[in-house]
Every structure is written in structure tokens, then in C-alpha cells.
């Protein structure tokens, strides 16, 4: 196919603004999928995927469109990960495209998530096609929303298509606009191969399958390829596309978006953002934008029921097959028994992994407070990397501690700059720069300790900017800080899993907030429980959980026995989700108390 007849694009939309409905309509209109059997067909593929243990995602679909100019076009619709906080992955998916459709709800207008993704698309030089959806709603205000898009993003909306993805109104016009306004891939088929890896999945029969956008050159079975960043080399077994079923092709050419299988065993070889080239005719340099994703946040994961340690191990191994950024190794805690120290890209990544372990693998887990990696310089001149506060050497052996800092860029509408600066200041941020981007937006630069970001920074940012801020950060290096280990004692005993490393000047506040939060989260037990926060043996905050003195049903006669039994069964269920530490029963949430406490 003629390269000028290819269009590669993503759909950018806020949740519920109609991204998947529009994608469905496009699939129908291009007759990629018969309308009637659409659901079934898609589900079939998914069931098959499920059996093989693959994550369900529709990474990229190839569509054939017969345009009004009489020509046939190939569209590649590339999906972006659902979680915008995975900024890097989203940006690589967008880098696989040449254009993007921006879908905005004509009733609700531009939302923060949309804004953040549009900025990423602009950074990747994508042509953006604004589309107003839900135009048939009585509350739709297309003109107001168009003005908003022009003001906030600076896109010309005079020709924005007004559609209803639900009813299909004007969707065909969107397809015509894709043909007319989005550019074709500009790569050179004669140049050395450069294929951008934007996603991967694990298939138990074929190993890791890489999803690529071929920017220059072409790739076919039996080619010897190299992943330029990781250096891994393989021989291609099959290439193909999805429509959305898997279709094997003879070759992927410049402008094609498809998959490559090469019996790849390790996910570590296939990094999102890496460039694939030929071994015998390599490209002089990789595509720009690759970043190595290393875990920045660590926490301990423990099964509530110790007997399920092996199940947890197996589940982590399975998740790892699809998730290069996830790291884990065994560790033990006095309080929690056997578990794993796990590394994540960030807090959201941690949440996602934890949720999948609980939901897909039916595990009952305790996650300990997240920690960054500290560089601990000891008096004997050596340095130790510590990602678990409980393992911090005793104070007298520490010369000083360094903690990771990030360079943060925060794009925010003008009116929230003040609130955002206050927040950064509170989080020990150092002001670097403030730039005016346009009439409405400013770009703030701060140096911030990573440990301050992983707590409640994002929640606070969302609430102080009404969600209209986008945040990006890069590790900038380590700096010495006044840091101390804060222990928590329950009933007089240190619970190692609750120890945290805190900035010394914050310790009193945090100790106080932590003990109060624990008092709230730990249910009353048959005896009074002192809750203390201590630094190096010195108690800095203290409260008591009063004893439970009365727990009995006043009335219980002949009727209603089943309901009363259910009440007890419910209490029993609650107990099962608790961990016995010494003589105290601690609910799962308490181990994450540090994330939900209010220090203000």
C-alpha cells in the first residue's frame, strides 16, 4: 500500500467523553467488524486471550476505509493506556502516531486529563483534530466548548466536527477529516529500520509480543533485529497486524503499525520507547524519547495469610511478564512474616499492581508504607542503599543520608499558580523557574524530594487546582537531608512494618498525625493499646486506643437467629483481613496509614 494512504492516530478523551464509543463506530463504519457481530467477535478474541493469560488490551487496530475521494486508506487506531498518570507510556503510544483525534464532551467541556494528554500530543508534534461529542444532549454547548478549546489549547476549532458517537451522527465526517487533515507517515522506506516499541504483551506460546510503529525501513520474518537500548538481539518469527483479530503479514513497511514475535523470553528486553533496528544494517541512532523506567517507589507486599506466600510469588511472576517496570524480591518482617519488597514506577503503578493481585489472583494483601531509595553513608565510609525504613542502620552508625530529588514541571492555569507554589513549598520544594506559556497557562519548575511526592502530593495538587494541572518529573539526583527513622509502637512494641523515614523538622507533626490515624483505623480490642511514635527510642507522640468493654447483643430469642449469626460472620470476615502483631490485631489499611493522614 502506498504510504501516503496510511493514517496513524490515537483518540484523546477524558473518561466518559466517548472514546470507546467513537472507536466502536469507526470500527463499524470501516466495516472492520460487522455491526451485528461486533460485540461477540471482540469478546471471542478476549476470551481466547484470557485463556492464554494475556492482559486484555486492544493496542492497535488496522482499519480499511474507502474514502469519498474514491481511494482506499489504511487507518491504524492506536490505544493509549487508560491511566494518564503513566505519562511516559502514554507519550510513547502517541509517538507511534502522526495525529490524534481530540474528543471533548460538548456538555462538560475540557477536563484536566484531556489537557495533560493534549500537551503530550503537542510535544510529539502530532496534528490534532478537535471533535465535539454528545452534540445531541440537551445540555450541549458546542460554541462555548469550542471557545474553551481555543483558549486553553490554542487549537483552531472553526472546523471542528460536531458528532454523536452514540447515534453515529457525523462520524463519517470524522473519517473524512482524518483522510484530509491528518498527515501520512513521513518515514523513508529505503532507510535503515527504526521501529518504535510502544507496548508489549506476554503470550504463553510465543513469548513477548512487541507492538511497533515502523518509522523507517521495513521488517519481515527471519530478520535479525536488535533492541537498541537493551541491546537484545532476536530473529523475527512472525509479523502482523490486528484488525482486531490477529492477522499474519509477510512484512511490516514504513508507516505500518503492528506486532512482532521473536520468541522473546524476558520482558526486560522489550522496553516501551525502545527502537528496533536490523543487526546487519543498523540505524545510526535510535528514535528520540526513550527513557529507562526504573522503580522509584518501593513497598513491602505480604499475604495476610502466611500460607499464601507461594501464591503471591507466582502471581508476581505472572504480572512481571507483562510489566517490565515491576520489580520484586523476597523480604521478611517481624510483624508480617514472609513477603516481597516490590519496586514500582510510582504510587499509581503500585495501586494498580496491588489491585490486580487482589482481584485477579484473589490474594488478601498487606502493603506497607511506600518508600524511596535512600543513600545511607555510614561512619565507616561505606554507602548502603535502603528502600525499607526498617533496615536503616542505627543512628550512631550513620554519617549522613541522601534522598532522591526530582525536577518537576507543573503546567497549570494562571489562577492556580499561587496555590500550587504554596503546596510545593510545604513539600520542601525549591523554586527553579516560572514561565508564561500563553494567555492562560504557566509552567512551574521545582526541585522536590521524591519522598514528598509519593505521599499525598497528587491528591493535594488535584484539589488545589481543581484538577487543571499536569505534572511531570524526572529524577535529578541525590542530596543530603536531615532524615530520621520514625518507629511506631503498638502496646509498647515496635511494629517494623510501620516504620518510616521522615524529614526531621516534619517528624513531630507526622508522628502526631500518624498516631491519630492509627487510633482511627485500629478497632478497639479487649485491652487498652498505647500508640506511640518514637525517634531513636524517644517518644514524640502518643495516644491510646481505649479498650472495648462491651460487645454483645442485648436481645436474642427464637427469631432472627440467622441475621444475628450473619452479624457475627461479618465480624469474623473483618478479623480475617487483620494481621495479628504481638497481641494486637491490625487491619490492612493501618499499614498504609501514612498515605491517608492529615497533617494540616
Amino acid at each position: 500500500m502506498d504510504q501516503s494512504k496510511i493514517r496513524n492516530f490515537s483518540i484523546i478523551a477524558h473518561i466518559d467523553h466517548g472514546k470507546s464509543t467513537l472507536a466502536d463506530r469507526i470500527l463499524e463504519l470501516t466495516e472492520t467488524v460487522e455491526k451485528r457481530e461486533m460485540k461477540e467477535q471482540l469478546l471471542d478474541t478476549m476470551d481466547l486471550e484470557r485463556e492464554r493469560g494475556i492482559t486484555i488490551k486492544l493496542n492497535a487496530v488496522e482499519l480499511l476505509y474507502h474514502a469519498k475521494d474514491g481511494e482506499d486508506y489504511i487507518f491504524h487506531l492506536i490505544d493509549t493506556p487508560g491511566h494518564v498518570d503513566f505519562t511516559y507510556e502514554v507519550s510513547r503510544s502517541l509517538a507511534a502516531c502522526d495525529g490524534a483525534i481530540l474528543v471533548v464532551d460538548a456538555a462538560q467541556g475540557v477536563q484536566a486529563q484531556t489537557l495533560a494528554n493534549v500537551y503530550l500530543a503537542l510535544e510529539n508534534d502530532l496534528e490534532i483534530l478537535p471533535v465535539l461529542n454528545k452534540i445531541d444532549l440537551p445540555s450541549a454547548q458546542p460554541d462555548v466548548v469550542k471557545q474553551e478549546i481555543e483558549d486553553l489549547i490554542g487549537l483552531d476549532c472553526s472546523e471542528a466536527v460536531e458528532i454523536s458517537a452514540k447515534s453515529g451522527l457525523n462520524v463519517e465526517q470524522v473519517l473524512e477529516e482524518i483522510v484530509k487533515k491528518l498527515p501520512a507517515p513521513t518515514g523513508d522506506p529505503k532507510k535503515e529500520l527504526q521501529a518504535l516499541v510502544f507496548d508489549s504483551i506476554y503470550d504463553s506460546y510465543r513469548g513477548i509480543i512487541a507492538f511497533v510503529s515502523v518509522k523507517h525501513g521495513s521488517i519481515k520474518p527471519k530478520d535479525k533485529i536488535r533492541f537498541m537500548a537493551t541491546g537484545a538481539e532476536y530473529e523475527v518469527i512472525e509479523v502482523g497486524i490486528r484488525n482486531p483479530k490477529e492477522v499474519i503479514k509477510e512484512e511490516l513497511q514504513t508507516g505500518d503499525v503492528g506486532w512482532i514475535s521473536a520468541a522473546i523470553k524476558s520482558i526486560d528486553d522489550v522496553r516501551v520507547g525502545d527502537t528496533i533496528t536490523h543487526v546487519d544494517r543498523p540505524a545510526p541512532e535510535p528514535l528520540t524519547g526513550y527513557r529507562e523506567l526504573n522503580p522509584m517507589v518501593y513497598c513491602g507486599l505480604y499475604p495476610v495469610d502466611n500460607a499464601r506466600y507461594d501464591d503471591l510469588k507466582e502471581a508476581l511472576q505472572k504480572l512481571k511478564l507483562n510489566d517490565a517496570a515491576l520489580q520484586f524480591e523476597p523480604e521478611t518482617s517481624q510483624a508480617l512474616g514472609f513477603g516481597f519488597r516490590c519496586g514500582f514506577l510510582g504510587l499509581l503503578h503500585m495501586d494498580v499492581v496491588e489491585e490486580r493481585l487482589e482481584r485477579e489472583y484473589n490474594l488478601n494483601l498487606i502493603a506497607t508504607s511506600p518508600s524511596v531509595i535512600y543513600h545511607v553513608y555510614k561512619t565507616d565510609g561505606t554507602m548502603e542503599k535502603i528502600d525499607n525504613p526498617a533496615l536503616l542502620p542505627p543512628i550512631q552508625k550513620i554519617d549522613h543520608i541522601e534522598e532522591p530529588y526530582v525536577s518537576a514541571e507543573i503546567m497549570v492555569p494562571k489562577e492556580y499558580v499561587g496555590a500550587m507554589m504554596d503546596l510545593c513549598q510545604k513539600k520542601r520544594g525549591e523554586y527553579v523557574d516560572l514561565q508564561v506559556l500563553d494567555d492562560v497557562r504557566m509552567n512551574m519548575k521545582y526541585e522536590l524530594p521524591l519522598s514528598e511526592i509519593i505521599y499525598d502530593f497528587f491528591d493535594k495538587m488535584k484539589s488545589c487546582t481543581k484538577g487543571y494541572a499536569s505534572f511531570d518529573y524526572n529524577l535529578s539526583g541525590y542530596r543530603p537531608s536531615k532524615l530520621v527513622k520514625m518507629d511506631i509502637l503498638l502496646n509498647g512494641q515496635i511494629v517494623d512494618a510501620l516504620s518510616t523515614i521522615v524529614f526531621k523538622d516534619f517528624a513531630y507533626n507526622r508522628g502526631n498525625a500518624m498516631t491519630i490515624k492509627l487510633k482511627e483505623l485500629i478497632p478497639k480490642q479487649q485491652f487498652e493499646i498505647p500508640v506511640q511514635a518514637a525517634i531513636g527510642g524517644k517518644v514524640i507522640a502518643r495516644t491510646n486506643i481505649k479498650a472495648l468493654r462491651k460487645n454483645v447483643l442485648a436481645k436474642c430469642y427464637g427469631g432472627d437467629i440467622s441475621r444475628k449469626k450473619k452479624l457475627l460472620e461479618k465480624q469474623k470476615e473483618g478479623k480475617k483481613r487483620m494481621k495479628m502483631v504481638g497481641s494486637v490485631e491490625i487491619p490492612q489499611e493501618a499499614f498504609m496509614a501514612v498515605l491517608s493522614m492529615d497533617e494540616d
Partner: protein, 357 residues
């Protein structure tokens, strides 16, 4: 064949704020009477040892209705027949009738002697009515009288509770049931989202009650029940000792051949189709647990040998860990019985949770 029966009389003249029992304000009493008469006759019960009319408000029944209903029961010697009464619907004439028919125990719903608190929980009677009814009952040879009190009511102080107990003691009655207020989801309080009182205050109140009544010579024989020597509610003991009993009328529950059932709570369904009992399917395992759950409420003790014969396992073996944890501070084992201590009664739910497998 069960020697006990519970009859549910669902009618009330007004609805109390704390109540979630099956209760209706209805004019269809005639049709109801026909239905329950048929239901009772079909049971073909033998002579009863204990009979309990509960509600709702049994004393709201018209005298001739009450008489008709009563004629369907026959008794063994030394029987106990309790009728729950509300001080404002119980008249002197009804008392005379009850006495004539052979009712020998009355449970009077007093709830509190503080009249403004009474109003705040939706009760309409006065203290004078309570004292008059008790006097009249005694004059009519019904001296086995129990009253119900509630504590931990919204805005009730410790002083209020002490006064309630003092008043009870001056009445010199053989039995008291005293309940902490439970805010049931389906009660008016529950629907209003009433906040429970401070847990510590409630515990203080309970401890005070137990102590005060013990000093006055009452035996604390169940979580919420106190009596003078040997004046137990024999009917209620049936529930706590895993015995069978008939459940009669809409909203009643029963247990026959160790299978529990709940009759319909819908008046319409009851009038159209009768009691329509739903039998509760439980495994032997679950039944064994329910027996413990009920049995440990009473200090008369839960009969271990009877339980072991019925459920085919060893009590001490099956619950080794639980017993180790709670004996002797919360539970005591004595002559083939297991019973709660004072502390055990206060924490019974926590203990029962550990008994659950």
C-alpha cells in the same frame, strides 16, 4: 413433639421508635383470627409446658378474640403462660379475663420510668398506668410479673438509669429484662440515623445494672435477664437451651425437629395463604454453632453432654483454642456445662466470633 409455643400477635396501636419486630396497625383482626385459628389447629400440638404470647402488642387484642385464641391451647401441670402487655392497652377487665383463662405470667413493656424519655421513644403510657396495672395484676393473682426496661437511650444519663432501677426495686417484682438500646436498621430510630450513645457510658451502665441487681438479691441468669430465685422465664430458657418450639402466627419463628422456620411477615400474604413458613436450611455444623451462640447467653450453662450427643463431636476438642483463650476469665467449665462469667457476658460477641470456624 415440642412442649412450647410462641404466638405472635402483630397488632400495635402505635409504633415505638426502637422496634423492628413484625408489627402492623390494622383493622383486619377478624380475618387474622380466623387464619391463626386454622394454623394452630393444623399443628395438632399436645399439652404445652410453656406458652408465650408476644408481639406486636398482645394486650391490644379484643377480649373475645383473646378468649377464642386461648381456647385452642391445652397445658400440662406446672405450665407457664406469659402474655406481653403494654400498660396503656392492658385494662382491668382484660387482667380479670387473663387470670380467669389461666395466664400466669405477665411481661409488661415499661422501657423507662422517666416520662419525657418515654415520649422521646414513641411510647404513650404513663407511670401511673404502670403502677395501677401491677397492683391490679397482683389483686388478680398474677404475681409472676416481669417488666422490660431499656437503657443507653438517647439523652439518658447514668442518674436516669439509677432512678429507673430504684423504682423497679420498690415494685418488688420477680423478674426484669433490661436491654441496651439496639438501633435496628428497620426501626424508626434506624431510619432516622440515630447515633448510639458513648460506648463507655453504655458499658458503665451495664456494669452498674448487674451490680445493683445482684446486691438486691436478683440472679443475673442471661445477658439481659434478672430474676429472684427460681423465677426464670421458663419459656425463654427454651430458646437458649436448643429446644424445639412452635412458632405461630405471622412474623413468628419456630423450631421443630431442630429445623428453624420463619413465618411470613406480610399481613396480606398471611391472610391469603396462611403462615407460609420458610424453612432455614442449615448444616449440622451450623446448627451446632447456633446452639453455642444461644447457649452461652445464659449463666445456667450450656449443657455440653447434650450438645455432644446431638452434634456428634467433642466440645472441648473442637474448640480447644477458643477455650484456652477464654477459660477461666470469660468462660467457665463446670460439671459438664460451659457458662459465661460477667466479663464473658459483656464480650460475648467477640467470643462467639472466635467460635466460628
Amino acid at each position: 413433639m415440642a412442649g412450647s409455643a410462641y404466638v405472635h400477635i402483630p397488632f400495635c396501636d402505635n409504633i415505638c421508635f426502637y422496634c423492628d419486630f413484625c408489627r402492623v396497625i390494622s383493622k383486619e383482626k377478624e380475618k387474622w383470627l380466623e387464619t391463626i385459628k386454622k394454623e394452630i389447629q393444623e399443628k395438632k400440638m399436645g399439652r404445652l409446658r410453656t406458652l408465650y404470647f408476644g408481639g406486636g402488642t398482645p394486650s391490644s387484642l379484643e377480649e373475645d378474640h383473646f378468649k377464642e385464641l386461648s381456647s385452642l391451647f391445652s397445658f400440662q401441670e406446672e405450665y407457664e403462660w406469659t402474655v406481653e402487655c403494654n400498660p396503656d392497652s392492658l385494662t382491668e377487665s382484660k387482667i380479670q379475663l387473663y387470670s380467669r383463662l389461666g395466664v400466669n405470667r405477665i411481661s409488661l413493656g415499661v422501657q423507662t420510668f422517666k416520662e419525657d424519655l418515654l415520649t422521646s421513644i414513641g411510647r404513650k403510657h404513663t407511670n401511673k398506668q404502670v403502677f395501677d396495672r401491677i397492683q391490679q395484676l397482683k389483686e388478680n393473682k398474677i404475681s409472676n410479673i416481669s417488666i422490660d426496661l431499656i437503657y443507653a437511650l438517647p439523652n439518658q444519663s447514668m442518674e436516669d438509669l439509677k432512678k429507673d432501677l430504684d423504682t423497679f426495686l420498690t415494685l418488688n417484682l420477680p423478674h426484669l429484662s433490661i436491654y441496651s438500646l439496639q438501633i435496628e436498621e428497620n426501626s424508626i430510630f434506624g431510619k432516622r440515623g440515630l447515633e448510639p450513645v458513648d460506648e463507655d457510658l453504655e458499658a458503665d451502665m451495664y456494669e452498674y445494672i448487674c451490680e445493683r441487681l445482684k446486691k438486691a438479691g436478683y440472679e443475673h441468669y442471661e445477658i439481659s435477664s434478672f430474676c429472684k430465685p427460681d423465677k426464670y422465664s421458663r419459656h425463654n430458657l427454651i430458646y437458649w437451651s436448643d429446644e424445639d418450639f412452635y412458632g405461630l402466627g405471622m412474623g413468628a419463628s419456630g423450631k421443630e425437629n431442630n429445623v428453624r422456620y420463619d413465618n411470613t411477615r406480610s399481613l396480606k400474604m398471611y391472610l391469603d395463604q396462611g403462615a407460609s413458613p420458610v424453612y432455614i436450611e442449615t448444616t449440622l455444623e451450623e446448627k451446632a454453632y447456633e446452639a453455642i451462640m444461644m447457649g452461652l447467653r445464659s449463666t445456667l450453662g450450656f449443657d455440653i453432654r447434650k450438645w455432644e450427643n446431638r452434634y456428634k463431636k467433642s466440645f472441648k476438642e473442637s474448640y480447644k483454642d477458643v477455650l484456652e483463650k477464654y477459660v477461666p476469665e470469660y468462660l467457665v467449665l463446670e460439671k459438664n456445662t460451659c457458662k459465661p462469667t460477667q466479663k464473658g457476658m459483656e464480650m460475648l460477641n467477640s467470643i462467639l466470633v472466635d467460635f466460628l470456624e
